[in-house]
Structure formats: structure tokens, C-alpha cells
């Protein structure tokens, strides 16, 4: 295996990991505040749809991105009203939102574009284009570092870099700010936060707003960065893989990055080596396609250890009985 192959796989890893990363961080904020969010998948999907369709009609991917974030925020709002204000079951609300997103995207898409739930193909300014970082040309002569910089680090869309930045921001917010401390506390022991005179409801709503924004970014990346348009069910289970990555990372930001990169890497390897000779035996395609899932089970079962969710997760906060 040469450097170019390794770089191509790592490059694909970055692309595949980014939507997972946004969804995973979104889930992290929500669950750290004590709100389980099964609806990450639905938020990704609805944001993918609205960002692609608004980008297609206005021709600007940035307006599309805003529309995607707005749609994801609306979903977050519904989840918040159902599970925080009305103290409903968070899992049921999440599942319902997934169904809603799955249906509404196709219905609205058909009525707007008449393409069977697709959006038109996006071109030019309606898509996120890869950006070339400075010094790519200057470094191209340097062995190893040159190609690594040009292939792996440079040449992604802006949302990929934003995703990495979001990890650092999440870590800083959670562990270095007063808001982060309160957010973690409200997921572990909301009574103590309430006793300290801080509004549990406001904290939880804030967390859910952040969740909505992050999912919006992830969904927009799917349809306007990774692909060039929306097709029905294009999130393809990424919201659920992000939930698995969240458990794998034990609700910690840097580990979430590692977990998402691992899942992205497995997908990239599966895509690249559909057909390889290994020790003289021809490994069948089906095995290579199943490999990411097999490794996921092995890793989750064998290496994670005990994953303890935030203690107040899933329970609506009731001030007095």
C-alpha cells in the first residue's frame, strides 16, 4: 500500500466522518443536558432537504445553509416543547420527528420541484466547493508533507474544517465555561442546578438550540457538500450511527471526533477495497461491505468498557410533586 492510497482513504474518511461528527456533537449537547435525542436522523434529513432546495432556488449555498439550520431548529423546537415543556417521552418524540422528516421532505419536494422528492442538481455557487488552503503550491515539492498537505488537509469544503473547529469549541464550552458546567450539571442532577437558582428549562432549551444548529450544519453538508442535491432518505442512518459514536465516545467531545473518524475510516476502507486479495485468498465484496458493521460490533462490545450516560438523561424535570 503506497502513500497515495493511504491518503485517498484518509481523505475519504474526512468526508464521510463530517456529517457524523456534526450529528454526534449535536447529540452530545442534547444528552449532556439530559434530553435524549433519537431525532438526530430526522434533523439531518430535513436540513439536507431545505438547504438543497433553497440553494437550488436562490443559487446561493449560504442562504441554503441558513434555511437548513432553520428547519433543523424548528424540529428541535418541537422536540423541546414536547419533551421539556410538556414533559413527554423523549424517545417517542424523537421517533415521531424522524417519521415527520422522512415524509415531509418527499411531500414538499414533490410539490416544489415535481421530481419525485428530489431537488434539482446543484451547480456552482449552489454547492460548497472544496477550498484550497494557502501554501499548497509551495509545499508540493516537499516529500510526504507536500502530498499530505495537498490531499488530506487542503481541498475540503469549509464545513469539514468547521466540524473540526466545532469539536474544539464544544470541549471549551463544556469544560471551560460557566454555561458548560451548568449544562453538564443539568444532565446529571437538575435539582441541584435548580436549587442554585438557575433555570433548568432555559438551560435545556439552549442545549436543544445548539443541537438544532449543529444538525443543520451536518444535513447541509450531506446535500450541498458531499452530494449535489437531495434525494429521499439520503441521511441513510447516519443519525443513528452518530448516536452509537456518542455512546462509544462516552459523551466526550474529543473522543467523539475519534469515534466519528473511525466510523468514517471503516466506510472509506469498505468503499475502496471492494475486491482484494488477502494472503492469496480473494476476499468477497460482501465481506468487505459488512466489515464496517462487524468491526463496529466488535469495538462496541469489546473495547468501550462501561458507558454511563448522564444520570438525568431521558427524565423530564419536575420541580415539585
Amino acid at each position: 500500500m503506497d502513500l497515495a492510497t493511504i491518503l485517498a482513504i484518509l481523505d475519504a474518511t474526512m468526508r464521510s466522518a463530517t456529517p457524523l461528527l456534526f450529528a454526534c456533537l449535536a447529540g452530545l449537547f442534547s444528552e449532556r443536558a439530559g434530553i435524549f435525542d433519537i431525532g438526530l436522523e430526522g434533523k439531518l434529513l430535513i436540513s439536507a432537504f431545505f438547504s438543497a432546495s433553497i440553494a437550488a432556488t436562490t443559487g446561493s449555498v449560504w442562504i441554503g445553509l441558513l434555511a437548513g439550520i432553520a428547519s433543523s431548529l424548528v424540529m428541535s423546537g418541537i422536540h423541546g416543547v414536547a419533551s421539556i415543556t410538556f414533559r413527554g417521552n423523549q424517545l417517542i418524540s424523537g421517533v415521531a420527528l424522524n417519521f415527520l422528516a422522512s415524509g415531509i421532505t418527499v411531500v414538499v419536494g414533490e410539490s416544489w420541484f415535481g421530481l419525485g422528492g428530489r431537488t434539482p442538481q446543484l451547480e456552482g455557487a449552489a454547492r460548497f466547493q472544496p477550498i484550497e488552503l494557502p501554501f499548497t503550491g509551495a509545499l508540493s515539492g516537499v516529500p510526504v508533507i507536500g502530498p499530505v498537505y495537498a490531499e488530506l488537509i487542503s481541498g475540503h469544503t469549509i464545513l469539514v474544517y468547521l466540524g473540526i473547529l466545532a469539536v474544539a469549541m464544544t470541549w471549551w464550552t463544556l469544560y471551560r465555561t460557566r454555561f458548560g458546567l451548568r449544562l453538564r450539571a443539568v444532565g446529571e442532577n437538575p435539582e441541584s442546578v435548580d436549587t442554585a437558582g438557575v433555570s433548568v428549562l432555559r438551560l435545556r432549551y439552549t442545549a436543544i438550540v445548539i443541537t438544532g444548529v449543529l444538525c443543520g450544519l451536518g444535513g447541509a453538508y450531506l446535500s450541498t457538500g458531499l452530494a449535489a442535491g437531495f434525494v429521499k432518505e439520503m441521511s441513510a442512518g447516519r443519525g443513528f450511527i452518530a448516536l452509537a459514536a456518542l455512546i462509544f465516545a462516552k459523551w466526550r467531545p474529543w473522543y467523539a471526533l475519534m469515534a466519528c473518524l473511525l466510523f468514517g475510516f471503516l466506510e472509506a476502507v469498505g468503499n475502496r477495497f471492494q475486491n482484494i486479495e488477502f494472503l492469496g485468498i480473494n476476499v468477497p465484496t460482501q465481506f468487505m461491505q459488512a466489515l464496517p458493521y462487524i468491526l463496529t460490533v466488535v469495538i462496541l462490545a469489546g473495547f468501550v468498557g462501561k458507558a454511563i450516560p448522564p444520570r438525568a438523561g431521558g427524565q423530564p424535570y419536575v420541580k415539585e410533586r
Binding site: 419525485g116 452530494a227 434525494v231 441513510a236 468503499n271 471492494q274 475486491n275 465484496t285 460482501q286 461491505q289
Partner: protein, 332 residues
């Protein structure tokens, strides 16, 4: 009295519409969606052409999941659609079960052979059409490496891949053909993100022409090829217009003609049995239009026309993967 009249006339209107409905043909759009720009869309275009030309109407439903196949087929038959066209090999076993229950209804199935007195099986010689586009790919490739991205990993798609590989090797015996499949479930027909990733992985391995035989997934494959600056080959419908200059050609599979003919023949002119649409009957072929005519040079046209004539005369025999589940030109 006037109320009675209203009822009577309403009843009469219903009866008339019921009689009219008897002659309506039906079309069941398969998974992947009506506007997949490929297989299903080709069928829809055939039906639309029939509507435009005859002014008739037809009943159409679209499958949303694997579980709806039987229910949809029965419902269509009970709504008195006749003949009914079902698309795709995956309907074979369902139709085998449903067809005997509606002996007075005629069914036509595309891409599969079902042996029943009221079923017409329409199959295409995709390997021959794929051979021709493979020949073009082999002549156009500068790196000597070309790619194939299939949808669901089934014998039918391997038939495309195998014909393609044979064509590539005929043009350049040293060429390398990389083959990838999107998945093993029907969702592989509608996963452009994964298709794009597979195409990019092939480009990084040196492929400079990529043939997409993947239904709706193909949209992502052609997009990735255009982004990476390599050539792609579309499938089923003419997809040359999607990315002019990047889409080298499209392997045409005239599902539209098949649907159009079944609809035109109607229930009266229906002929059960197997119909093979091959190069000779123009059931398969390759597309040249204003979007790609600059890419197809005269040498290529000459070579492809020669190969086409030889295939029709039997001088070149393109191996059909489905005949013995193996391919001399490609390992899966």
C-alpha cells in the same frame, strides 16, 4: 324524483367510467423512484409518450418499500388495469405468485422471465450494449484503468459489468477494470452519496472513465466524475445532458419502447412469452447527441459500428454473465 334521477345518472356515469377503466393499462414504478433519471424514468417516458400520442390514460403506482410489491400488484389487477407492466427483476417471484390469480389480466415484466400464460417477459441484451460502451471507454481511457459502479449486487448488474469489461479489453487488452457495487439491498439503487464516494475511490486508483449502472445512485457517480474531471458513462436513459463534456455516452436500454409497445398493443394485442430486445432490434445501444458528439471521435464511431455489426452477425459473441454466473473478463 329529481333526486332519483341524480342517483341514476351518477350510477350510469360510474358504470361508463368502469367500462372505460377496463381498457386502462397500468404501470408499477419500482424502488429507486420515478425520476431516477435512469431505469424507472425511461419506463415513465414510454408511458407518457403513449399518453401523448393516443390521449389515453393509465394507472400508475410507485413502490415505497420491498414489502409493497405483492399488495401493489394485486391492487392494480383489482382496479382492472390491463395490461399491467411491472419493472425490475425483483418482482419476478411476486409475479409468479400473483399472475395465476388473475388469469384474465395480462402482465408484462421487464428484466425477468416469468413463465405463465398471461405474462410477457421482456429482457434486454444489456451485455451487448455494455460491450459497446466498454469499447468506447477502453479507447478513450488514457490511464488504461476504467471503473464500473453497480447498484445492487445482483446477476443482472454483473451482466452489465461483464459486458463492459469485455468491451474494454477488446479495445485495450492491457486495461484494468475496477468494479464496485453500491450495496446488497434495494436501497443501493438510491444512494448517490455512496455512489459518489465509490467513484472517487476509483478515480484515486487511476480510473478515468467510470460506467454507472446503478439507477438513482448513478446521479452521484456522474456528479463525482464531473467534479474529479474524468469521464463517466450513463445508463438506461440518455444521461448525456446531465454533465455535458464529462458524460462520455450513455448505454441506452429502451425500457420506454418496451412500455410503449405493451401499452399500444393493449389487452387485445397482448402476446405472452419472452421478448428479447437486443442490439439488432435497437433495444440496447449507446447515445450520441449534441452534448457528447465532440467526445466521440470518428475512430471510435467506426470501431463501435464495426463491433455492433459483428455482434449482430454473430462474429463477436459477448459473454452473458447470467447464462453461467461467471465472467471471463472480470472477477467479482
Amino acid at each position: 324524483m329529481s333526486l332519483m334521477k341524480t342517483f341514476l345518472s351518477a350510477g350510469a356515469a360510474l358504470a361508463i367510467s368502469a367500462v372505460a377503466a377496463l381498457a386502462e393499462p397500468g404501470l408499477i414504478i419500482d424502488l429507486g423512484g420515478k425520476f431516477d433519471k435512469s431505469f424507472n424514468e425511461s419506463a415513465y417516458n414510454g408511458a407518457k409518450r403513449w399518453v401523448d400520442e393516443t390521449g389515453g390514460s393509465y394507472i400508475e403506482t410507485e413502490l415505497q418499500s420491498e414489502a409493497q410489491r405483492e399488495q401493489n400488484m394485486r391492487k392494480m389487477a383489482e382496479r382492472d388495469a390491463n395490461p399491467i407492466v411491472v419493472l425490475g427483476f425483483a418482482n419476478g417471484s411476486t409475479l409468479e405468485k400473483v399472475a395465476p390469480d388473475y388469469p384474465d389480466t395480462s402482465f408484462a415484466i421487464v428484466d425477468m422471465v416469468v413463465d405463465a400464460p398471461n405474462v410477457k417477459s421482456i429482457v434486454f441484451s444489456e451485455h451487448e450494449g455494455s460491450y459497446l460502451v466498454g469499447l468506447i471507454a477502453g479507447m478513450k481511457s488514457e490511464t488504461g484503468t476504467v471503473g464500473f459502479v453497480g447498484g445492487m449486487d445482483v446477476p443482472l448488474i454483473r451482466k452489465f459489468a461483464c459486458g463492459y469489461a469485455q468491451g474494454v479489453l477488446a479495445a485495450n487488452p492491457d486495461a484494468k477494470v475496477i468494479s464496485s457495487m453500491t450495496g446488497t439491498t434495494p436501497s443501493a439503487w438510491n444512494d448517490p452519496v455512496k455512489g459518489g464516494e465509490l467513484a472517487k475511490a476509483q478515480v484515486s486508483q487511476g480510473a478515468d472513465v467510470i460506467y454507472a449502472a446503478a439507477g438513482g445512485t448513478g446521479v452521484g457517480i456522474l456528479q463525482a466524475a464531473a467534479d474529479e474531471g474524468v469521464f463517466s458513462i450513463g445508463v438506461d436513459s440518455n444521461q448525456n445532458y446531465l454533465h455535458p463534456g464529462s458524460v462520455l455516452t450513455s448505454m441506452l436500454k429502451r425500457v420506454d419502447n418496451a412500455v410503449y409497445e405493451v401499452f399500444s398493443a393493449g389487452a387485445e394485442g397482448f402476446e405472452p412469452g419472452i421478448a428479447v430486445l437486443d442490439l439488432e432490434s435497437e433495444g440496447v445501444g449507446y447515445a450520441v447527441d449534441e452534448n457528447n458528439e465532440a467526445l466521440i471521435t470518428d475512430d471510435i464511431t467506426a470501431a463501435v459500428d464495426e463491433a455492433k455489426a459483428k455482434i449482430i452477425s454473430g462474429e463477436i459473441e459477448v459473454h452473458d454473465y447470467t447464462s453461467d454466473d461467471s465472467c471471463p473478463a472480470l472477477t467479482f
